[in-house]
């Protein structure tokens, strides 16, 4: 045996380490969870766990703090999920913390997320049951997506109808878009408008710079002054004239004429009065007839 002892211990070590590695592998794969040491358990009930599996991660504040240990059906509508969590985080999880099931990316594994509560101050104990939020299922997302897609379908249908109407319709807007004759007439109108505005432009230019009376009326200051003084003169002259007229009235030669004129006016007034009365009578009569 003496000459064998040289390699015997090496072989022993080889086999021992190999077996230890095997045991370690089996142990960890079998547990497939916390490598962390001291742990405690929490429970939560869900209506559906959405594909959560034993060994999925549990997150608190975004940190992986544990794994799912057991998933048990209790009734046909509730599933009890038990998860193990590192002892270190026990002090941070309060009694009103809530568990929800989320997903790690679009294709990733499901994870349980523990959201901290707001009011409670007492920390959770081992095997406590915390409340749960129902997970957002992919189906729900798809369902809401479907309704919006349906709406989009309706909208596009209406849009298609609208465009068909626009192409074939008789309305003003449709004519605006598709009727050639309307377009031509509109074009003619616009051409006319163009000539009109062109003429108008010419007119305004002339008005601004022209020599005509109208142009002068609007632009020439001197003309305005002249006009002003003319009007002044006219005023004074009419005043003089009215004085002349007063004088003429009292003149003997002309008094007769003015008296005659006054009389004729009075007569005319009286006739007018008579005519009015007659008309009123006739109106009253016609109303009577209608009543009968």
């Amino acid at each position: 045996m003496k000459d064998e002892s040289g390699y015997l211990w090496k072989l022993g070590m080889f086999v021992t380490i190999g077996v230890i590695l095997l045991v370690v592998a089996i142990y960890f794969i079998g547990k497939q969870k916390n490598l962390f040491g001291a742990t405690f358990h929490l429970q939560a009930q869900f209506k559906s766990v959405g594909g959560l599996k034993v060994g999925n991660n549990v997150r608190f504040a975004g940190i992986n703090v544990g794994t799912v240990d057991e998933i048990n059906l209790i009734t046909d509508t509730s599933v009890l999920v038990i998860f193990v969590i590192k002892d270190e985080v026990q002090q941070f999880i309060k009694k009103d913390a809530r568990a929800s099931i989320g997903s790690d990316g679009l294709m990733g594994d499901k994870v349980i997320t523990i959201s901290p509560g707001t009011f409670s101050n007492s920390r959770v104990k081992n095997n406590d049951v915390i409340t749960s939020k129902t997970p957002i299922e992919m189906e729900d997302v798809m369902l809401s997506m479907k309704s919006s897609v349906d709406n989009a379908g309706i909208i596009t249908g209406q849009l298609a109808k609208f465009t068909t109407n626009m192409n074939n319709g008789k309305g003003a807007l449709a004519k605006l878009i598709s009727d050639e004759a309307f377009a031509n007439s509109l074009k003619g109108t616009l051409v006319n408008l163009e000539t009109a505005t062109g003429q108008f432009a010419k007119f305004t230019v002339k008005m601004n710079n022209g020599k005509g009376a109208l142009a002068k009326l609007t632009t020439d200051e001197e003309f305005g002054k002249t006009l002003d003084s003319t009007l002044d003169n006219l005023k004074t002259s009419t005043k003089g004239l009215s004085e002349n007229m007063e004088a003429a009235k009292s003149n003997i030669l002309l008094r007769g004429f003015f008296n005659k004129k006054k009389k004729a006016e009075a007569k005319k007034n009286a006739e007018l009065q008579k005519l009015k009365e007659k008309k009123l009578k006739a109106a009253a009569d016609s109303i009577k007839v209608e009543k009968e």
Partner: protein, 253 residues
């Protein structure tokens, strides 16, 4: 053609007889413990560096090669798990067995072949030592037990190689990496893969011994024995792997 068929069936028949004799001799006393341990050392310890380096490189290379495909889906976190599963299930057992077929099977074939040629085996028989017990049983037993152990070592080294490969482009410390690996690797990956390595080891030892033990006379036959042992052992590893995978697939689904 007929002669060829006949020799083929002859070979098959003698392999079966050889295997049957192994089981008969393995059960009967006495068991050559010292020689067995020596052979375990020769197959196990001496192959460890080779197998370890191969496993490391396989893990590293598989990780690097798989990354672009997974990165296209943004699923790089699945890389450690995926690589570990393929390593543990298929790559490491088969590569380890192939390496050992090259190293151990040819070694046994050459050793026994030269013993046969130099008539040492006949001399043993004359000196009342059962050469079958002393040479064949110990070697086959050693190979059968050591290949699974080597595979387990290689599994770990290979996963570590994957860790090194993963850290070329990404960042993950060792515990994070191993937790990613452990979320993917399950018993169903580990157990059948380990069980089939026993058969790999048995085939390696058996074929090496058979080829050596039945070597013809003459120096050239030593080379032939070593060469054909490697070829036959490698080939039989693939056949066994095919059967094992089919069986696992059938049993687990």
């Amino acid at each position: 053609m007929l002669a060829y068929l006949r020799s083929t069936f002859n070979d098959t028949g003698s392999v079966v007889l050889f295997t049957g004799r192994f089981f008969k001799e393995a059960v009967g006393r006495p068991f050559e413990w010292n020689e067995f341990i020596k052979q375990c050392y020769a197959t196990g310890n001496k192959s460890l560096p080779l197998v370890g380096i191969t496993g490391f490189i396989m893990g590293l290379v598989l990780t690097i090669q798989s990354r672009p495909t997974l990165a296209r889906f943004g699923a790089e976190t699945m890389l450690p798990g995926m690589v570990a599963v393929s390593l543990v299930r298929e790559v490491i057992p088969v590569v380890t067995a192939l390496i050992c077929a090259g190293k151990i099977s040819s070694g046994i074939g050459a050793e026994l072949g030269s013993m046969k040629v130099t008539e040492q085996i006949d001399a043993m028989e004359v000196s009342a030592i059962n050469p079958y017990k002393y040479l064949v049983v110990t070697r086959i037993m050693a190979a059968t037990l050591m290949i699974p152990l080597l595979t387990i070592f290689s599994d770990f080294v290979g996963v570590f190689g994957g860790f090194v490969g993963f850290n070329i482009h990404s960042e993950a410390n060792l515990s994070r990496y191993f937790s990613l690996v452990l979320t993917s690797v399950d018993f169903i990956d580990m157990v059948p893969a380990t069980i089939k390595t026993f058969f790999f080891g048995f085939a390696i030892g058996l074929i090496g011994c058979y080829k050596g033990f039945t070597a013809a006379n003459g120096t050239a036959s030593v080379g032939i024995a070593a060469n054909s042992a490697v070829v036959a052992a490698s080939f039989s590893i693939f056949i066994i792997d095919l059967l094992a995978v089919q069986l696992t697939d059938f049993l687990t689904t």
